[in-house]
């Protein structure tokens, strides 16, 4: 468990066998993001396409996973079908603790199975089971079947893909334990290309605790800090959905393909309204007492006079932004209905919502036709969007097949690039200003979680590009250490360097505890080196015109500042990713 190397299970689906590998470098690669980068360097093919059977899909946890609260996430790394470069996507659920209790620091899957399979692993078993009969099944049905086929209810994690992953969509996510996802950048398609329908990780191992009383005492302290904070209140109460009203109030909520940044009608889909009208209950990732997952319900009358069924659908800020505000859908139940279809087809919700928002505007403008979209897309028409989601996941025609590879690709072919809301990938729900737009467009994961550019926008009236770039680099550096632990980033205000050092010390990673700043810098550089080695050129990233057409609470976006910031940050990334020579 506490070891200075990494215990990695490497499974080759082509031969149906796995091996346990010992990988050195705990004090350098740490775990999570850092370990995934090291493993990609070892097993990845930087110059081969994402769907080359030899390419690995990597799931990595960190040195504190399971030992402390909210150390509850897993990093998934792969060569992405979205941009054919190295990528990371993060998720919680039970995946992290399942890997911990399966006694693995990482799982690496290479090769391609001959027929659809499910990989089942635990501390004492490895099985690759033929599940050809699940191919084509939706995410919910697949989950139910796998639950029945494999043992270990409650103490395992079930990862699976839907139709989108099977069809190779660059927007296909990996569903984790029903309510969490490795959503972005097409991890689902990587599993699909391997004929890997599901992964069941059974956490059936038991391990000794660190010696002495310090660990249990420190756990208690951290638990109290995490459950006493404002953060606990925010995420436990309304959850991230609280951001809907906040961003709408700030004029920073992308609405109707970012044609607007605020609208009084948004009141209907605020976190408050979702809680009041749709919330059934909260649930949690294993090892996290915060319980930020909010599960709502939709019911449908399928027969007169009063025959209903209901479905439970998890919501968060980002899904509400993507399938609500961005599509002009302002009824919470209609939002959940679209979300449920996204879930069942195995698409990433942000990508799907933003792509369909672009398609709607493109159809309005006559750039594309209804024979392309197959349904008459119109902002606010929820039922039509559920149909469009199915077409997008299935790749029903040439238009949807291209759109599923990314909105920018579709816009490149049909036109409308200027209003494609793409920042490296489909935007997340923050129209806060120049720093955020650049941070997502150029950032490592093209995620709102790479660094808090949106906070910088809110903190400073005027943007100094040099200062902002310094902030983004430093913030990313702190976050890459957290995502190497692997902490939930909601806990970032508690897990500061000093506390992380205490935690690492208490479980025996003394060297790491003393070298956090240097190690973080190394992790950041190494990750960028890997990304650049797979073809990323940050200087080539463009920010579509739509992002400079909008106004926020600060007024119009300053195109010149945006451009200077973009150039400077791109330059900095190139520097960070440069390999030492000689």
């Amino acid at each position: 468990m506490i070891r200075d190397n990494f215990r990695v299970l490497v499974v080759d689906l082509s031969i149906g066998r796995g091996t346990i590998e010992r990988v050195e470098g705990r004090d350098v690669h740490v775990g999570g993001s850092g370990l995934a980068a090291a493993l990609f360097e070892r097993y990845g093919q930087v110059d081969q396409p994402w769907n080359d059977p030899r390419q690995p899909i990597i799931f990595a946890i960190g040195p504190l996973t399971g030992y402390f609260p909210l150390m509850s996430k897993t990093v998934c790394a792969f060569k992405s079908p979205y941009h054919d470069q190295y990528a990371e996507s993060h998720a919680g659920g039970r995946s992290a603790l399942s890997l911990r209790f399966a006694d693995l620091d990482a799982l690496v899957v290479t090769g391609q199975a001959e027929r659809p399979v499910c990989l089942s692993i635990g501390s004492q078993h490895l099985e690759i089971k033929d599940v050809h009969y699940l191919w084509g099944k939706d995410v919910g049905t697949t989950g139910k079947m796998l639950r029945r086929m494999f043992k270990g209810s409650g103490h395992r994690s079930i990862l699976r893909i839907g139709l989108a992953g099977e069809r190779g969509s660059a927007m296909a996510g990996i569903n984790v334990d029903t309510y969490r996802h490795f959503g972005r950048l097409g991890g689902g398609a990587v599993m699909g290309a391997k004929n890997l329908k599901g992964i069941v990780i059974q956490g059936d191992g038991t391990f000794a605790l660190p010696k002495g009383k310090e660990y249990a005492k420190l756990f208690q302290k951290v638990h109290l800090q995490l459950t006493d904070t404002e953060m606990m209140h925010k995420y436990h109460n309304l959850g991230t959905a609280a951001n809907v009203a906040v961003l709408n109030g700030l004029k920073a909520l992308p609405i109707r393909n970012l044609q607007q940044t605020t609208d009084p009608k948004i009141e209907a889909i605020t976190g408050e309204n979702f809680a009041e009208r749709t919330l059934l209950r909260n649930t949690a990732c294993s090892g996290c007492p915060v319980g930020c997952i909010h599960v709502g319900f939709v019911r449908e009358k399928f027969m007169e006079p009063n025959q209903y069924f209901y479905r439970q659908v998890a919501y968060d800020y980002e899904p509400i932004f993507a399938t609500g505000a961005m599509l002009g859908v302002i009824d919470p139940f209609a939002v959940l209905d679209i979300l449920d279809t996204v879930e069942q087809t195995g698409l990433d919700v942000m990508s799907a919502g933003v792509a369909l928002a672009w398609a709607t505007e493109a159809l309005e403008q006559g750039i594309i036709k209804e024979e392309d979209t197959l349904v008459p897309l119109r902002f606010g028409e929820a039922k039509i969007y559920t149909e469009a989601v199915r077409h997008l996941a299935a790749g029903s025609n040439a238009f949807y097949q291209l759109l599923a590879q990314g909105t920018a690709k579709a816009a490149g072919r049909y036109g409308g690039s200027e209003f494609a809301c793409v920042l490296g990938q489909e935007m997340a729900g923050y129209a806060t200003g120049e720093v955020y737009f650049v941070s997502q467009a150029l950032g490592f994961r093209h995620s709102h979680l790479d660094s808090s550019g949106y906070s910088y926008d809110q903190k400073f009236e005027a943007i100094d590009p040099d200062d902002a770039v310094e902030f983004l680099v430093k913030d990313e550096q702190e976050r890459v250490f957290l995502t190497s632990m692997v902490a939930c980033l909601f806990a970032r205000s508690v897990y500061k360097e000093e506390l992380l050092a205490e935690c690492l010390n208490s479980v025996g990673y003394d060297t790491l505890a003393e070298t956090i700043p240097q190690v973080s810098q190394g992790l950041q550089r190494h990750r960028w080196q890997i990304r650049l080695s797979t073809g990323y050129d940050p200087t080539s990233i463009e920010i579509p015109k739509r992002f400079t057409d909008i106004s926020t609470w600060k007024g119009s976006i300053d195109g010149k500042v945006l451009d200077r910031l973009r150039q400077k940050y791109a330059q900095k990334i190139v520097e960070m990713g440069r390999r030492e020579t000689g």
């Binding site: 603790l97 103490h155 949690a284 294993s286």
Partner: protein, 147 residues
């Protein structure tokens, strides 16, 4: 005498904080399994969660089944386990009608000792340590902890 009860499991969010606390504080292990209370989904995550706790039987079938007197009846319900007397036969597990005993791969049994150390870790107040009627008097310290 007190016993652990799980009166509000409909509030459970599946964070496993109780199981992990029991494993950590009582049994000195990092585990989902080696705990006196274990949480599982009741037929998938969309159906909520169930706890697998000891129901504090009196008389306890597991104690009656134990052939080496490693298990003895605890006053107020439940059992006291002396692991030094346990021969890892698994009879306790077979006898338990509610699957409250976990046997690790060596056959070592783990069962709730009704100490209540899991209770404060539950964020939704699902668990409670309550007095057993008719057993008033000072609470006894649990005799059994980790092996």
């Amino acid at each position: 005498m007190k016993i652990l009860i799980t009166p509000r499991m409909e509030r459970c969010i599946g964070c496993h904080a109780c199981s992990l606390a029991c494993a950590r504080l009582v049994h000195k292990r990092l585990s989902w399994d080696t705990a006196g209370i274990r949480i599982l989904s009741s037929g998938g995550l969309s159906t909520g969660f169930e706890a697998k706790p000891c129901l504090a039987c009196d008389p306890a079938p597991c104690a009656a089944a134990c052939p080496t007197a490693a298990y003895s009846q605890r006053k107020g319900g439940g059992v006291v386990v002396k692991k030094s007397l346990c021969i890892r036969c698994g009879a306790c597990d077979e006898a338990c009608p509610v699957d409250a005993i976990y046997l690790d791969p060596t056959g070592e049994p783990f069962v709730c000792i009704h100490c209540g150390r899991c209770v404060p870790f539950c964020p939704h107040d699902c668990l409670e340590l309550v007095d057993v009627p008719g057993t008033s008097g000072p609470t006894e310290e649990p005799k059994e902890a980790a092996s």
